[in-house]
């Protein structure tokens, strides 16, 4: 009697979970504001384009075809978006804890360096892919986590504001990478057969399997980062650690009073952020390039900030925002080619999107969107950032 009953209950519970997951996934809260922000940005961008004597519709049509014009371009756009998921998550998680991580670029590079180092180890070609691929991904994750943890430790031990320390660490790791990858005497990581500075190619066994031979290649790193989004969403919404992060972000004093170890949360949040960036970097090294160049991740950290803010730091919404961002960058060259204009137009539109998303009051005023009741203040207005920079 009880057996079928239990099974039934199990099924209902499972479908309940599924339903919740779906509603969670599709509840992209202030969807309207983001959509209007995008619309407004393209409008202003259009004005700018027509000012230099190009028909904005021609330019946008070329941009759109560059983004999703055919299967290969679509795959290329997807591939371009993948690392942005990691760098956006690297902002989103600490942001929930009231920390502003501008160091994703450095954390990507640190993760990329460790991944490239491990991937090119001589014994890597002797082990099967099922060992080598996890190894290179873990190496990248660890490298990123270690580099990301430093500003967390500095913040808790010395009070150094993470905004400044992460920016400085970005520069430090960039110069370190330039030396390690560029130096011929002594050779550190450089591929001595190559004329451009880059690391030794990684072992064939450590290469992530390819899905579509697009430009850039779409590879299985996509699944790793999509999975990461789901994991982070679960962690933020359903675990003790996620609750601690939210509490520390809203009120560190209350968190401390409730018996939480605020310092531990800060360090872990920063290290986790570094780990996300590191994973994204490892997937790039392993799946896209097969080696590392010091300039690979240029501006990717800044893009991550914008994407995370566009998605209102919601991990699942980050997927959509990263897709928009990556595909715009991926489509820009075709626009440049056909409409003869600088790809920087895309950068301006992106900055405008971010501007209107951050200053949602402008959009709400222009389009008369009402504030959602239960949402309260938007996360960007929370005075969670402590002390002056």
């Amino acid at each position: 009697m009880s057996r079928p009953g239990k099974a039934e209950a199990g099924i209902t519970r499972a479908s309940g979970h599924l339903h919740r997951l779906l509603t969670e996934a599709w509840r992209l809260q202030p969807l309207y504001v983001s959509l209007y922000a995008i619309l407004l940005s393209f409008l202003i961008g259009g004005v700018l384009i027509s000012m230099i004597g190009v028909n904005p519709l021609t330019a946008y049509w070329a941009l759109l075809r560059g983004m999703v014009g055919n299967g290969e371009r679509l795959a290329g756009s997807l591939a371009r978006s993948v690392p942005f998921i990691g760098s956006a998550l690297a902002l989103a998680l600490p942001f929930r804890a009231g920390l502003f991580n501008i160091g994703a670029e450095g954390q990507l590079l640190a993760g990329g360096l460790t991944a490239a180092y491990v991937g090119a180890l001589s014994w890597m070609s002797d082990v099967p892919g099922i060992v080598a691929i996890p190894l290179i991904l873990i190496a990248g994750t660890m490298g990123g986590a270690a580099w990301g943890g430093i500003p967390g430790v500095l913040r808790t031990k010395t009070g150094a504001h993470e905004v400044i320390s992460t920016i400085m660490l970005n520069s430090v790791v960039l110069f370190a990478a330039r030396w390690m990858v560029g130096s011929r005497d002594p050779v550190v990581l450089r591929d001595t057969d190559s004329t451009v500075p880059r690391t030794d190619p990684i072992a064939d066994t450590a290469v992530l399997p390819e899905l579509v031979d697009s430009q850039p290649v779409l590879h299985t790193g996509l699944f790793a980062l999509l999975g990461l989004c789901v994991v982070v969403a679960f962690m933020l919404n359903r675990t003790n650690f996620g609750f601690e992060i939210a509490t520390v972000g809203l009120n560190p004093h209350a968190a401390h009073y409730a018996g939480m170890n605020v310092n531990r949360v800060i360090v872990l949040a920063m290290a986790a952020a570094g780990a996300f960036a590191g994973l994204a970097a490892a997937s790039e090294v392993s799946g896209t390039n097969g080696h590392l160049q010091p300039g690979t991740f240029f501006l990717m950290g800044f893009d991550g900030i914008a994407i995370a803010l566009l998605a209102r730091t919601k991990p699942v919404a980050i997927i959509a925002a990263a897709l928009l961002w990556g595909s715009m960058l991926s489509g820009a060259p075709l626009m440049q080619q056909e409409a003869d204009m600088s790809i920087d137009v895309v950068r301006i539109i992106q900055a405008l999107v971010l501007l209107f998303v951050a200053a949602d009051a402008i959009v709400r005023y222009l389009f008369q969107v009402r504030e959602q009741g239960q949402q309260g203040q938007s996360p960007f207005q929370a005075a969670s950032v402590e002390g002056a920079v």
């Binding site: 009070g159 400044i164 400085m168 660490l169 430090v172 900030i305 301006i348 900055a351 002390g387 920079v389």
Partner: protein, 436 residues
């Protein structure tokens, strides 16, 4: 118990040395001293080197013997360590000795790197004036931050403000002045300054009127400036064909620049460089010696109290942030029209963030911030100089990337609190709403 007995009983009590920031710093200096005496001084090349005071040929200068100098500095470091661990009476001296030790790092670095390179001497006057010149955008940027943060608005968009005004200013110069030095150069510098004010006004509107998180607003500005200037460079500046132009010419201070040996190097510089001193001095004068300056500071410390006194907090904040933006605009002009005549993508290269660090280093005061800017200017000038000298440690040439990263490492160390905790304006970062 008399004081003396009390003291002696304390001395006999188990010694408890508290490992605070100061003690650790002293200890590190001591360890450095030991390492230098034991490891470096005996091994170093003992040929006489020279600190030159003017350009070759045949410069006047000071000759020195590297091991002697290194040992002298190391002995001082050992004294610092001893003072750091000695009981209460010496506390004040311990602090002083730490400051002197930190200053001693400058000659130490110079002596060490000269001894490790093949060069017999280096021009120190030029190094010093280079530091001052390179400190210009940092001091101006820090002053921008000072105005903004003292009024209660965090500004991490200084970088973007400087970049945008550098780009807009140079664009004006390239389009209307064809990048040749006429009156248009000064007109373009003025446009730069105004552009800086405009960008800062955007920051002010976002963070004051719309209550956007001030750090987010700063990031928006940085991102926007990057896109805008990239667009202007490729669509406007590049199409005019005037990608490089004549920059401002150096001005020598009367009388001072004719001092023999050092005058020509120390008292000659670009007009924006000289304006930097005026701006820093003016900032100090206005902020600390006028009623309006007092109002600005009170808005940053306790806006509600300021409001009670009848101060229009929002208006003061707008004024202060925009004034800061004008200063950042001047810094932008320095990049594209004084330091080099031309605009490159991302040419400010994190100077805005280093300026913020200088502000923290200077504990939110004009002269302190200037000192911080000088420190970072010096570490950049030193980095370039050492790169040029070609320093070798036992056959291994120290890579140029190491020296290039020097300013960033120094910033990190400074912000991580080698100078002690620095507390900013109390109300910075919190949006203010008028009471009704």
């Amino acid at each position: 118990m008399t004081t003396l007995e009390h003291a002696s009983s304390l001395a006999h009590a188990p010694q408890r040395v508290r490992l605070d920031r100061g003690t650790i710093t002293s200890l590190l200096f001591g360890l450095l001293g030991v390492a230098l005496i034991a490891g470096v001084a005996p091994a170093i090349d003992s040929t006489t080197r020279r600190f030159n005071l003017e350009r070759p040929p045949d410069p006047a200068g000071i000759g020195f013997h590297p091991p002697t100098w290194i040992i002298a500095i190391s002995v001082f470091y050992l004294i610092t360590a001893i003072l750091g661990f000695s009981p209460h009476a010496a506390r004040r001296w311990a602090g002083l000795s730490r400051v002197l030790s930190a200053l001693g790092l400058v000659p130490l670095a110079l002596v060490l790197s000269l001894a490790l390179s093949d060069n017999a001497g280096t021009n120190v006057t030029n190094l010093f004036s280079q530091s001052l010149v390179l400190a210009t955008p940092l001091a101006l940027g820090a002053t921008t931050g000072l105005w903004s943060e003292r009024s209660g608005i965090i500004n991490i968009g200084i970088e973007g403000t400087m970049l945008a005004s550098a780009g807009v200013g140079y664009m004006t110069y390239a389009v209307v002045g064809e990048a040749s030095a006429t009156g248009w150069l000064w007109f373009s510098i003025l446009i730069s300054v105004l552009a800086g004010g405009l960008v800062a006004a955007l920051h002010a509107v976002l963070s004051i009127r719309f209550g956007v998180n001030q750090i987010v607003s700063g990031v928006v500005i940085n991102l926007f400036a990057l896109g805008l200037t990239g667009f202007l460079r490729s669509e406007v500046i590049f199409r005019t064909g005037n990608t490089s132009g004549v920059s401002t010419s150096d001005v020598g201070l009367p009388l001072l620049s004719s001092i023999p040996v050092v005058g020509e190097q120390l008292f000659r510089g670009g007009p924006i460089y000289w304006m930097m001193y005026l701006v820093v001095f003016g900032t100090w004068l206005v902020m600390f010696r006028t009623p309006w300056g007092l109002r600005v500071r009170s808005c940053g410390e306790n806006p509600h109290a300021a409001e009670t006194l009848g101060i229009n907090v929002l208006r003061v904040r707008y004024q202060s942030v925009i004034l800061g933006g004008l200063i950042a605009g001047l810094a932008g002009a320095w990049f594209s029209m004084e330091s080099q005549g031309g605009f490159e993508d991302n040419m400010t290269n994190a100077a805005g963030f280093i300026a913020l660090a200088a502000l923290i280093f200077g504990k939110w005061t004009p002269w302190g911030a200037f000192g911080g800017a000088l420190l970072f200017g010096f570490s950049r000038a030193l980095g370039t100089r050492l790169q040029f000298l070609g320093v070798e440690v036992s056959g291994f040439e120290i890579p140029s990337e190491f020296f290039q990263s020097l300013p960033f490492v120094v910033t990190l160390i400074v912000v991580a609190g080698a100078v002690g905790r620095s507390v900013g304006p109390a109300a910075a970062g919190a949006p203010f709403q008028k009471s009704r």
